[in-house]
Symmetry: C2
Subunit: 363 residues, 2 copies
């Protein structure tokens, strides 16, 4: 049984490593020569829209999935004609456009920050008037890890924001003075059954996820699941979906969703009964879903721009290393580590050593 | 960082899958075209004693290890001159010869069944007289999974046993009326530190391991560890070693040891903090060893000769599938599954469904 994956980065790598024990081989389509997924997958080195590459990806695949949402539309059109593609191109199209995404959230009764479409300089002024300041101007498509965004704190910031981002479809969002950011990793199977992982609490640095903590028995679990369930069912979704939420005064506002396995779910590899990667593979291939219960408390920390020494990480008890074997570059996600503990107290006791390593401190 | 492995079967496969997250790539030497380790390793398709193959295996490898003990001696001689080889060829040579192995056990004060070397038909008669019957005649080398053995229940069985096995160096062992068979997975690092997994209790069928149960707080843990510690230190061992023991009237008799990761340690992938595979990789590369504590109760069942349907296995809660993606043949180990539970009671409740699947029953 073979699974095709558009993209050959670390998400494809971890999908392939999770697929292997199930007897599922992966084939990835990735133009980069040093695709880190190639450690456990056959690598088709071609552009994401290369016809011969797409043909080889679809050929004999029980399903084709992807590790990022910006798959070229023409590629998706080709793939859906030649193999089952999950999640659906419709789910990708929704996630790709912040305006479509947030409109769907609201249509489903999922609260969000107030927002307005901004296509012209005049639209921006009208949106600022309607939403007030501060507010965040974002490109509707192709934003990630904090890129394609500008914060407007005063009316005078509008010119600079427009100069930086104007010319493509934009969205202005009211600034959310949130208490914390959480994400819910949800999985829906081919037959419509859904399972949900315990909430993850996330901290960012420079727009990139820095630290995730699994949250057993979080009071926001039920409302987050209810939001996710509406979204999964409305999209007739198949696979793993990550719903990012802000908590504001005890209420959840949906920020965005990722139609794929997600960095904030990496802790599930060791910290849950079935990892998000295995469950994505199970879901898109129509296999029964695995249990999502946490096996204890878990914290995941990203290694961004530099990897600590392998020895130093492995010397820490109960820490699991994931080195993506990528060349180091500033701001690049090179690996992560997950700390597992029986309970939150023990987790908090061991976390500082791991955090120090991620900072590049010598231990 | 690269690790070379002689052999490309399921043990190499699971080593490679465990090595990848550590940023360690594996290269395997395996003559079979369908080496199942190739899913996560570079495959050198050549005989185990092919000079060009051995050269490529050693080239640039931080270490070379192996997944079986019958590596040709000439190959080991070549490898030790071109790369660090762990465990040492001396450990392999000891494990390969039942007489040398059992003699070492006794020299270290490790109890075994009584035994005698048998090189001639006359030796056999003398050994039968010395040990009494029943007894088991075994080839000193190349035996595995019950092959190369004959049970003598009466003096009249000697002729048939000699006819079947005579002509190569043999050993006669007194029959052990054991209560149970247990194994201890032990790991010794390059700097000499050792860690031990909880004991495993094993059941065989037709000479092949069928079921393993992890045993938390087993009364035999301490004596088994003491035996293993003597062996590890005497051999200046580096890597994972599996010590197989019989329990007879509350005492342990060592049967044999395997100088490698072992089928009875497969439950550690999901059932222990660090798997035997990751700890072998860590040990032979000189990295710090990981914790060996069980995370709950675990049972591992082998799929021999036929694989149950993927759907049926994945439908069972808390069961982890390992399909080696090998062609089915009678008596061939094709995969295994591990059932994890909070405690032994819950494990016993869920085990029958998994056992039924392994029998090929429809569920």
């Amino acid at each position: 049984m073979r699974l095709g994956i558009v993209g050959g980065g670390q998400l494809a790598r971890m999908l392939a490593l999770a697929a292997a024990p199930l007897g599922v081989r992966c084939r990835v389509l990735e133009p980069a020569a040093d695709a880190c997924a190639a450690v456990a997958a056959e690598h088709i080195r071609a552009a994401y829209d290369d016809p011969a590459g797409l043909r080889r990806l679809a050929e004999g695949a029980a399903c084709v999935t992807f590790e990022f949402e910006n798959v070229p539309v023409a590629s998706l059109d080709y793939l859906v004609d030649h193999a089952p593609v999950f999640p659906s191109p419709q789910a990708l199209a929704t996630a790709r456009d912040r305006l479509v995404e947030k409109t769907l959230f609201n249509d489903l009764g999922i609260s969000t920050a107030a927002f307005r479409a901004v296509d012209t300089r005049e639209d921006l002024d009208a949106a600022v008037t309607a939403l007030g300041l501060p507010a965040v101007l974002k490109t509707r498509t192709l934003g990630y890890d904090g890129k394609g965004q500008a914060v407007l704190r005063a009316a005078a910031d509008a010119d600079a924001a427009w100069a930086a981002l104007g010319g493509v479809p934009l969205i202005l969002e009211a600034f959310v003075p949130y208490g914390r950011e959480v994400s819910l990793i949800a999985v829906r199977g081919l037959a419509g059954a859904s399972v949900f992982y315990p909430l993850t609490e996330n901290s960012h640095r420079g727009g990139i996820l820095h630290l995730s903590l699994s949250r057993a028995n979080d009071p926001m679990q039920a409302p987050a699941q209810e939001y996710a369930r509406r979204l999964l069912n409305a999209l007739e979704y198949v696979g793993v979906l990550a719903l990012e939420l802000f908590e504001v005064d005890g209420e959840l506002l949906a920020n965005e969703f990722a139609p794929r396995v997600h960095n904030s779910g990496h802790w599930t590899i060791e910290g849950a009964e079935t990892s998000q990667f295995e469950n994505h593979v199970r879901a898109v291939l129509g296999l029964p879903l695995g249990r999502t219960e946490a096996t204890g408390a878990a914290a995941m920390i990203n290694f961004i721009g530099h990897m600590p020494s392998r020895e130093a990480v492995l010397r820490l008890p109960a820490v699991h290393l994931h080195d993506y074997a990528k060349a180091a570059r500033p701001g690049r996600k090179l690996g992560h580590a997950t700390l597992c503990a029986k309970d939150e107290k023990s987790l908090r006791a061991h976390l500082p050593s791991l955090l120090a390593l991620a900072e590049g401190d010598a231990l």
